[in-house]
Symmetry: C2
Subunit: 338 residues, 2 copies
């Protein structure tokens, strides 16, 4: 993915059109990302633009826009969720802000809670208002990263992105959760349930896979409920688990907020933590150390995710290569809940 | 303050230049806000632009930019503060987001923690990337609202803005705090200290004024330490107050976060709350109801501040009049700390 503004002379639409042997209108339609252009015309335009030293959409963008020295961070969740008791996104934002600030770039933050919100963010992101776009997390079905990168705007995401060339940061979900479940097994727990995360996110699937792998290796049965990473969903899922499997003696919750909800459900049900039921979370947000009892959890380096997103974006903007995949480590932090 | 894009035909730089009897370059310098233009030339340009139905800078802006259907919310604090345990700004953001979303506008968020950060935000805000700018709070010395409005971009702020025509929202600081201190007096407290907020902010000064007014009316002495609205500053200030005035029996903290810090300092010092020392906060953020003990506090309608900021901005963008001052009510919420 080439970034625009690398100092080379930029071709005009007319020059690209002449080289491609097509009309200026066709070039315009291609560079505006319209999908109704005949395949052979689109190819001709892209080849001409490429010969002239540009990825076509980046070329188009550089024709009409200038550097803004600002970068967008998109949080693809509703603002009521992002700006409430969540502590994951604020940590990512702090990391991004620190690196962009040091580099003299402006951070502009946006959320996309709805389809309309996503359309607005897309129009803004490809409208020349920012030099690049970072995603603080990702749902599989979200077409936005790909739509933006096709318009020539550099993109970096948190969360693995299959079938794409977009560089991404992620953490070792499977390894971290395996360690957590093995820890519970080593402590003699035998009926270990999980409150899994959303299964349309790599973070949700990877953590469930780590849980299943560790139990399978120990020849134990999986006991699964699914939440959406919020505290309320952890409360609901834990109630469900207690109803499904009253004898459970441990639970791995795929986020600290869900673990927090699980602690409330366990207290309601008169179960002591960790005596009756051991609880392990995932994230190590600030709440983990001041919950009652303090939470044993799989730590992911939240601020470092933000810093890495920003550093990779700055590299792309400087025209430097960035590795497609960066996996940050996770580690088990032992406190009192397990 | 006129908003651009109201559907009237926009004059070109040449048309303004012809009418003013000056060169196009002079018009360009005036509309770009350059201060080196001779006064009589600047006046001629402004009059011509005004005759043609535009405030000059707004006119310039409308010549070079188009509506973006996005509005900026600037939080004039460091991101490490905004995105941590603070719950005031997230509440304002939620309110703003709800109204903008309903109106089909994109919210873009920015923080300005440093002078460099403020410069970047200014360039972005007047660069045609947003249709208007809201401020989530305000320090007196901050020139940014005035700089932005002078470039023809509509501005609405939270916090009284003296010597300006910018519309602002604020809450009844003085009245709310008076009620809180009168409540403490009515409960028989005699040595009532305060952890005041920053004195370069209307919120800090107004709450201190309310405290002083209530004590003066009861012929009691003021006992004052000053923080910056953060929990850490409340902890430090409370330690200072206990050292200055060991016999104090109540404290009004000008933010819930500072009250939270004060609770920690009182616990350290072996004082029981409310038996030995009654504590009252200000804000009624979520933390107020789950602190130990739950906090008696002056409630300000945080989400409504955000909603009102957004509604007034939407009115400005639609060319509708907005009142210069809007004061929202405050009320005392009684819990267990006083």
């Amino acid at each position: 993915m080439a970034s625009s503004g690398n100092g080379r002379r930029r071709p005009t639409l007319e020059q690209v059109a002449e080289r491609a042997g097509v009309s200026r209108a066709t070039v315009s339609r291609v560079v505006n990302g319209q999908t109704t252009v005949a395949e052979h015309l689109r190819k001709a335009v892209e080849e001409a633009a490429s010969d002239m030293g540009y990825v076509p959409h980046a070329a188009a963008r550089s024709l009409v826009t200038q550097r803004t020295d600002s970068v967008a961070l998109i949080v693809p969740e509703a603002p009521t969720r992002v700006f409430s008791d969540d502590q994951f996104f604020p940590g990512v934002i702090r990391g991004v802000a620190a690196e962009l600030d040091a580099a003299g770039k402006l951070l502009v933050l946006m959320t996309t809670g709805s389809a309309e919100g996503r359309d607005r963010v897309e129009r803004y992101a490809v409208g020349g208002h920012v030099d690049g776009v970072m995603f603080a997390s990702l749902h599989d079905a979200d077409p936005l990263p790909e739509l933006i990168v096709r318009r020539g705007v550099p993109v970096v995401v948190n969360g693995m992105l299959p079938h794409s060339t977009v560089p991404y940061i992620d953490v070792d979900h499977v390894g971290g959760v395996r360690k957590a479940v093995e820890y519970l097994l080593a402590r003699g727990r035998t009926r270990i349930a999980t409150v899994a995360g959303p299964q349309d996110m790599v973070a949700g699937r990877g953590r469930l896979a780590g849980y299943r792998a560790a139990l399978a290796a120990a020849d134990r049965r999986a006991i699964v409920a699914v939440g959406d990473f919020t505290a309320q969903s952890g409360l609901d899922a834990m109630r469900q688990l207690l109803s499904d499997e009253p004898d459970l003696d441990a639970v791995f919750a795929a986020s600290d907020l869900m673990a927090h909800g699980a602690l409330i459900a366990l207290r309601e049900a008169g179960r002591r933590v960790p005596e009756d039921v051991a609880v392990v979370g995932f994230d190590d947000i600030a709440m983990a150390s001041y919950s009652e009892p303090p939470l044993t959890t799989v730590r992911q380096p939240i601020t470092d995710i933000g810093r890495t997103l920003a550093l990779h974006m700055l590299a792309l903007l400087a025209g430097e290569p960035v590795q497609r995949e960066t996996i940050l480590p996770t580690e088990l932090v032992q406190r009192e809940s397990a």
